[in-house]
């Protein structure tokens, strides 16, 4: 496989704020990669740097082997339309679609027309005056119809209704199957879009938390449930991403694969193991970092006894079954 995007130790500062710190990941050519993470995680900044619209403060980015900020060969092969894209005052759909071929060699005018019609983009409204959903639809039409070797979507669904979103996914997949290209997209609608993706990168607070194939991401955590006492015993020495409980019952999402040893320990502790979806993994990763940055988070009401100490980092002490309340100190 060829690498389309190479990001090495990328950092981006805005004044005294670190938007990205030592971000490194690759995107293989002709794959669909999802960039996930909470608001403010650095998704849009990363996309902007890859698109050559922003310069890194440090590190190295290569798209098709070239620097996107300096090399016009990258710009001509990249499609990145934001939903707040500015257009001349008098531009309507027709004018927007008319300039497509000037920027994108692979532009398919027929695809653009039919997709715009299916997404019900109004023809007479100036693009500047369109609603959020309509502006998103225009961005989607351009992104798909451009057939650019690198196509970037930044939360492309904002303001779109469920029917329009499904249409977008279907048309994107169909066209991608016929004309494979590298697609990098950010999204919060993980449940909805997970099956479109081949690879995921999870950012949190400007750093990469997860970088793997979707299937491996689902296997990178599991959930346990049972009485608070037995769950606490099981969790000792493990990395807890999130947990909550009611009465004497607790469920927790734990980092790692549910391998033989985990299954044996769970059976011995009397807790129930279950797999988690990508959405849960990403939410738990975000929750774990929020908890580790708020030290006084643990409180007996909604948190399990031992979990507070284990949140966000491995606890190296004690064996699972000898210290039921072990992690609390």
């Amino acid at each position: 496989m060829t690498t389309a995007i190479e990001i090495t130790d990328l950092s981006r500062r805005y004044g005294s704020t670190d938007a990205l710190t030592d971000v490194s990941f690759d995107v293989e050519q002709d794959t669909i990669c999802g960039l996930l993470g909470r608001n403010g995680a650095g998704k849009t900044t990363t996309l902007s740097v890859v698109a050559g619209q922003e310069r890194p403060s440090g590190g190295r980015v290569r798209v098709f082997g070239h620097d996107p900020a300096d090399d016009s060969r990258v710009a001509s092969r990249t499609s990145f339309v934001k939903d707040d894209q500015r257009w001349p005052d008098d531009f309507r759909l027709r004018e927007v679609l008319a300039v497509g071929p000037a920027f994108h060699r692979g532009w398919d005018a027929e695809l653009a027309r039919s997709l715009a019609a299916d997404l019900r983009v109004p023809e007479k409204t100036p693009v500047k005056k369109m609603s959020r959903g309509q502006a998103s639809a225009v961005a989607i039409v351009i992104g798909v119809a451009s057939r650019a070797p690198l196509t970037i979507f930044d939360e492309p669904y904002l303001g779109l209704d469920a029917t329009a979103r499904q249409l977008f996914y279907d048309r994107l997949l169909a066209d991608y199957s016929e004309h494979p290209r590298t697609i990098l997209l950010s999204t919060h609608l993980i449940d909805e879009m997970e099956s479109l993706l081949e690879h995921v990168v999870v950012l949190d607070q400007g750093q990469v938390r997860l970088d793997c194939d979707v299937d491996d991401a689902r296997a990178s955590a599991y959930s346990v449930a049972g009485t608070t006492r037995s769950v606490t015993a099981f969790l000792t020495g493990r990395t807890v991403l999130s947990s909550h409980g009611i009465g004497g019952l607790t469920t927790a999402v734990v980092e790692g694969a549910a391998d033989e040893r985990v299954r044996a320990d769970a059976a011995a502790a009397g807790v129930e193991l279950s797999p988690v979806g990508l959405q849960q993994v990403v939410a738990a990763l975000g929750a774990a970092s929020a908890a580790s940055s708020a030290v006084h988070h643990a409180d007996d009401g909604d948190d399990l006894g031992g979990g507070g100490g284990g949140l966000g980092g491995p606890t190296a002490d004690a064996s699972p079954r000898t210290a039921p309340e072990g992690a609390r100190s």
Partner: protein
């Protein structure tokens, strides 16, 4: 369409295998292409490809170059054999555990199975 937990390619492979087992696809039939599976189930074509490759590895499907994917001769029996091997762990064990939790003893459970399977 697909649930959490098990990988999507695994779930798709199970579904296609189920269709072969139930006779929806007969042996020798051509099955949908990777792109058709991807479009129908709304999944990434690479994921659909993984499911198809898994079934090729298991001798359920085979590829005819330039033409497409077909159900292999003997695929049904092979699948049935694989599923029989997992039957005890996947069906009998949970059944016995649930029965025990409800206070249904082994003799009672056997009578219930006899009733269900009676002609």
């Amino acid at each position: 369409m697909f649930d959490d937990g098990t990988p999507i390619f695994q779930q798709l492979a199970d579904r296609i295998a189920g269709d072969v087992l139930s006779g929806t696809y007969a042996e020798g039939d051509q099955v949908a292409s990777t792109n058709e599976f991807a479009a129908f189930y709304r999944i990434n074509p690479a994921t659909a490809g993984k499911a198809v490759n898994l079934l090729v590895d298991r001798g359920v499907l085979y590829k005819r170059r330039g033409i497409g994917m077909f159900v292999a001769e003997g695929a049904r029996e092979r699948l049935a054999e694989q599923r029989r091997a997992a039957f005890a762990a996947e069906y009998v064990r949970p059944l016995v555990l649930e029965a025990a939790a409800l206070g249904i003893d082994a003799a009672h459970l056997r009578r219930m199975i006899d009733q269900e399977t009676a002609p």
